[in-house]
Amino acid sequence: MEHTPPPFFKRGPAPVVRLAFFASLSIALLILDARFRYVDGLRDVLALAAYPFQKAATAPITAARRVAEFFVTQERLRSENTALRAELLDAARDAQRYRTASAELEQLRRVTEMRARFDRQTIPAEVLYTGRDPYDYKVILDKGRQQGVLAGSLVVDEDGAIGQVTRAHDLVSEVTLITDKAQAIPVQVVRNGLRAVGFGAGASGMLELRFLPANADVRNGDELVTSGIDGSYPPGVAVAKVVRVERDATQAFARVVCRPLAGVDRSRYVLVLSGAESRPPYPVTESPRRGTKAAARAGGRSGAE
């Protein structure tokens, strides 16, 4: 590659020039994507190109699972059936209670002229596969914009919240799990209504409540639900249980570690709670300052979407 080829062997620009061109293009894309999110259109097109590979890669596993499901024993089916019937009865009772309660609530709201709560659309979805990247915690769902999934929706399984839709493509969507370091979820302690923000703790699979004063009333075993005050999540969805509270006299904030209730990294079938409530615009403040990167990104995710 050292010698320059004679002009009749020319094969376009020199490799170094090409390298510089493509490298700067990549870096420009990275900056545009990380800072401004300008390239979501391009990402949609590329995601569509990757879709057949993703489908083909997961197809044999799905098929194997179907076959395995076909050959379950009679006994297991029967015991499962019994358990499910019992659960259904429970659920039916709860549903009855919920219906009366929500009717009552509706009436009360009307009386106090409060805005009726918007019932969210729920979209059942299946986890296609987990993101390849070992650095963050994402899963890809098999439902996208065409099925009504919107970016910013909460994703739950039967036990509680597992994450938030951070990107909705046409046919698939990308969910950032609540254990991701950059993901924040506004929560409330069921016992006393204390509000806090839960951040993912990364590899440990836990959540952390940050910015709680050292004397905050949080105990081991407290249950946390979504508070719903940010408007993008519905209130009252179970999130986590407090497993450890460390109060250090030298630090202003308590360290609260919680374990997610849902099978964040296990669930295969999930529900997307789509659609946001209409609420008055946020009051105008001075231009937002950039805090730590993670906090800014997390705030942007849960606040703006």
């Binding site: 094969r11 490298a23 890669a57 390849r132 650095y135 990308e174 950059a182 990167k293």
Partner: protein, 169 residues
């Protein structure tokens, strides 16, 4: 090290083979692996292979586009695999004459630093973007990838070789 072994003259590579190998590599990349850190980057391996063996057909541009598809499919920041694969293609093409001179295990020793380079570009992008360090396991992928190289070379050269043997009968 005896580079003067008798060598068969290979048939020219068909573009069908190249497209198919990239498709299979992407497929392997998108398989739902339990822990991605131990999985070699198949796409990078195939890219290095074709850059070394067919530097006129496969180059930086194709590496860049495939990197973008890998980025979008994995749902990561757009451009990180693209950048890694462009560097990978550049160095593979620059060293292709040298690498081809060696036997396949010595070739694998040349491939290892290339794969580590690609991995560290991705890692660097993630670190700049505020991710935590993933630990030493991140090196397992490139090591396995380099160990796969002799098998991969044998497999991908098969279509060019088999036709020759059939003809010589």
């Amino acid at each position: 090290m005896a580079p003067n072994k008798p060598q068969h003259i290979l048939l020219p590579a068909r573009s069908r083979t190249i497209v198919a190998s990239f498709a299979v590599a992407l497929l392997l990349m998108f398989l739902p692996w339990p822990d991605m850190r131990y999985v070699p980057d198949f796409v990078a391996l195939v890219l290095v292979f074709w850059c070394v063996h067919q530097p006129r057909m496969i180059g930086l541009g194709i590496g860049w586009v495939i990197g973008l598809v890998a980025d979008a499919g994995n749902g990561v920041l757009l451009g990180q695999h693209a950048l890694a694969y462009v560097l990978l293609a550049f160095f593979s093409i620059s060293f292709s004459r040298r690498i081809l001179w060696f036997g396949s295990w010595y070739q694998a020793l040349h491939i290892l630093p290339l794969l580590v380079l690609a991995q560290s570009v991705v890692l660097l992008v993630r670190l700049v973007n505020g991710a935590a360090l993933p630990g030493w396991q991140i090196l397992v992928g490139p090591l396995l990838g380099a160990a796969l190289w002799p098998f991969l070379s044998w497999l991908l050269l098969l279509p060019q070789r088999r036709a020759l043997e059939a003809g010589s009968l």
